[in-house]
Amino acid sequence: MSSLSTISPDLLRLDASRETERIVARIRELVFNQLKRKGAVIGVSGGIDSTVVAFLCARALGKERVVALFTPEADSSPDSLRLGRMVAEHLGVQSVVEDISPILKGVRCYERRDDSIRKVVPEYGEGYKCKIVLPNLVDSDRYAIFSIVVQSPTGETRKVRLTLSAYLGIVAATNFKQRARKMIEYYYADLHQYAVAGTPNRLEYDQGFFVKNGDGAADFKPIAHLYKSQVYQLAAHLGVPEEIQRRPSTTDTYSLEQSQEEFYFSVPLATMDLCLYGKNNGIPAADLAPAAGLNEQQVERVYGMIDSKRSVARYLRSAPLLVEKVEGISE
């Protein structure tokens, strides 16, 4: 275990060159030998995680064996497509734009979401924007109960606590987005006999920050073992464009800009990284607190949140359960 004097964000420092080569070799083994696919499809959002995965796949499989897929919809930031294109051009890989708005309209994603929002904000309608947010969970013992922030066409904002049915309705509707994207990714995977690369980092994979059978679905997940700050280290080593390295992590799911911090993790991602590392390595809250910039009680609360999110994530990661083992299949 680390001594108190050595507990710092440097704990998460890795040898980026060596780690890159290790992951690249592993991607080749997974895609060509285990999955028996000819290349990889990556949904590139212009964020740091999908960009690093695209860089790693291009290096591992060859740029001619990678498809970068952009799937904007009505609520997407224009930056996502612009930065995604920048990645594809930088790597020289094939890219495809598939606007998923018509699919989402077809399944009434926006209509269902807005109907659910109106359960708590009756005036919500044309021209309004929204996002859902968590309260501050670090400074007091509170439940992780979401509120919705709405902005009227005239720019007035208000925040309202969600009821159970409004919350479930909004989440169920917006999850169409990640599932529609995955459907398109598998279209291109089938078309080219490629594998679909998943892009979660360790925080997301461990804490269930993904949609089951949406962005949680993939054939391989090459950075799921890396803490977020380690993904940034790889990005710098790989030469990811500066603008992408500096871009704040967003969900790009709601029409109002929403950070991953306010939607899911409650603390800055660098702090969350350190707390997850501390939790995984048995570092007492009091010892981790100075390096995390929190007090002991706050670290204890983050440790508690990690546990409760892990218990939810078990369902999200679970493969279909069987009544009994099916003979003749080795998995």
């Binding site: 007091s140 013992d141 159970l164």
Partner: protein, 102 residues
Amino acid sequence: MSTTDTVARAVREFIVANFLYGQERTFKDTDSFLAEGIVDSTGVLQLVAILEETYGITVEDEDLTPDNLDSIGSVAAYLGRKMNGVAGRGPEVQDGVQGGKA
């Protein structure tokens, strides 16, 4: 039976019906819902909805804490405090809570 006991019994029936699916499981009035894996944050929303509907109270944002809602006993005590605070507004405490309204 005191009002607190009646409320505790009603909350227990609600928890068993909605979160334990009617299965027998022994837990004490002081056991933590979260620690025992009985109710998570989404479940708390359901619990809040049923408390508001059944007892005519409003659960404020600042009341959404484990101190108030994380065990049979804490919910009963919280309800007692709330109903004293809004005397005359809420309905009479009834035996049993109608599950599945949330």
